[in-house]
Symmetry: C2
Subunit: 195 residues, 2 copies
DNA sequence: GAGTTCATGTAATTTGTTACATGATTCA
DNA sequence: TGAATCATGTAACAAATTACATGAACTC
């Protein structure tokens, strides 16, 4: 198996639930996983090839001729075992990149209003995402006992909701602090002008 | 300039503050920025070469002969302008990868205790990080007015603190929910055994 | 004398993104 | 008729990690 490509486990995890085409895997990632793990077609199709070579999945071409040709993948016993072994190991450190914080870290090089605006854009974007998570939460709550997977989906949605709220709270506090700070600067300037 | 490599702006931002060697840039990133933007030597040294080629920075070899040779970089006016222009644009979407959530998403494939343990490991790791942020906050609070940059550093520390707390709260809630869930399962099992 | 830190760098590899090519079907 | 969606894939590029090589100085 090729070193430690984690995207292959995402694919195995999805195929462990049900057989799918590469295109459906992408759609599933976009609808359920992209907030904490994204993957492009450029990763998915080659990964499926690797997984098939390693006998982790097998493929069959769909027989019915309507629509474009579809290659349906299913997980093998070997794939199930590899997935299980991976799930047993504690996760490695999460890794994150926040451009907004880099810009703020160097914020003294530009006007305060610019920093405030950048944070405001960040806040608005994440307000939208929060709404999405709240919608998912509502939906999942109604079907929580219908499937043994739902409790796990629910926990990831709780994570998303919690983090989005933290983003938004921080953004509001940061904007307030900067506005106050701007006030102080203006105050000093005013004093300077008076004297 | 080479497309949109954001690490070069991190380097420019640091050099905008003071002249440094590549090695010092790495140390500075590790001590102040790595929680929201990491970079390895394998990125830093080649990026410095690119920046020098593009006249964004210039270098001079240190003259004194004690210790290993040092190449000290400083930002040029062109570099300052490029940094400023970048800082003015709102940040692109933050991007994150949480292996712990992927594993939880597929959690039904393994024992509940395993999921609980994975979350507990996540929580412990982030408790340590939270302590670090709290320490930074204390330190910065005492020198907040000594430098115009400090307010911005402080805001990034507030972000770190807020997010770490959210991680930890979520982990505790998730563990509770899973334990409760386990109780329900055991209950049903017990009923099944009795009948 | 051994280990760590300071210091620079390259090479190999992995990982991920973006753009492109192809072509059928469905929907307005 | 034209746009969107379904579906598969490759090629080029960009970003990032890891391992390695080198060597001086400082610390225990």
């Amino acid at each position: 198996m090729a070193k430690e490509n984690k995207t292959i486990y995402v694919i195995l995890g999805l195929l462990n639930h049900e057989d799918m085409t590469g295109y459906e895997i992408k759609k599933r990632i976009d609808s359920s996983l992209k907030f904490f793990w994204d993957a492009s077609f450029g990763q998915i199709y080659p990964s499926l090839k690797i997984l098939e070579n390693d006998m982790m999945v097998k493929s069959k071409n769909e027989e019915n001729q309507s629509g474009p040709e579809r290659i349906i993948y299913s997980i093998t016993d070997k794939g199930k075992e590899a997935l299980r072994q991976w799930l047993l190991k504690p996760a490695e450190k999460e890794h994150v990149k926040y451009e907004v914080l880099v810009k703020l870290f160097f914020g003294s090089a530009v006007d305060v209003n610019n920093n405030i605006n950048n944070i405001a854009v960040f806040k608005e974007r994440n307000l939208d995402t929060l709404k999405l998570f709240e919608f998912y939460k509502l939906q999942l709550n109604q079907v929580l006992n219908e499937d043994k997977d739902h409790i796990f989906y629910y926990l990831t949605v709780l994570f998303g909701e919690k983090i989005q709220k933290a983003y938004i709270e921080w953004a509001e506090e940061a904007i307030d602090i900067l506005k106050e700070h701007k006030g102080e600067v203006n105050c000093e300037k005013a004093k300077g002008e008076k004297s």
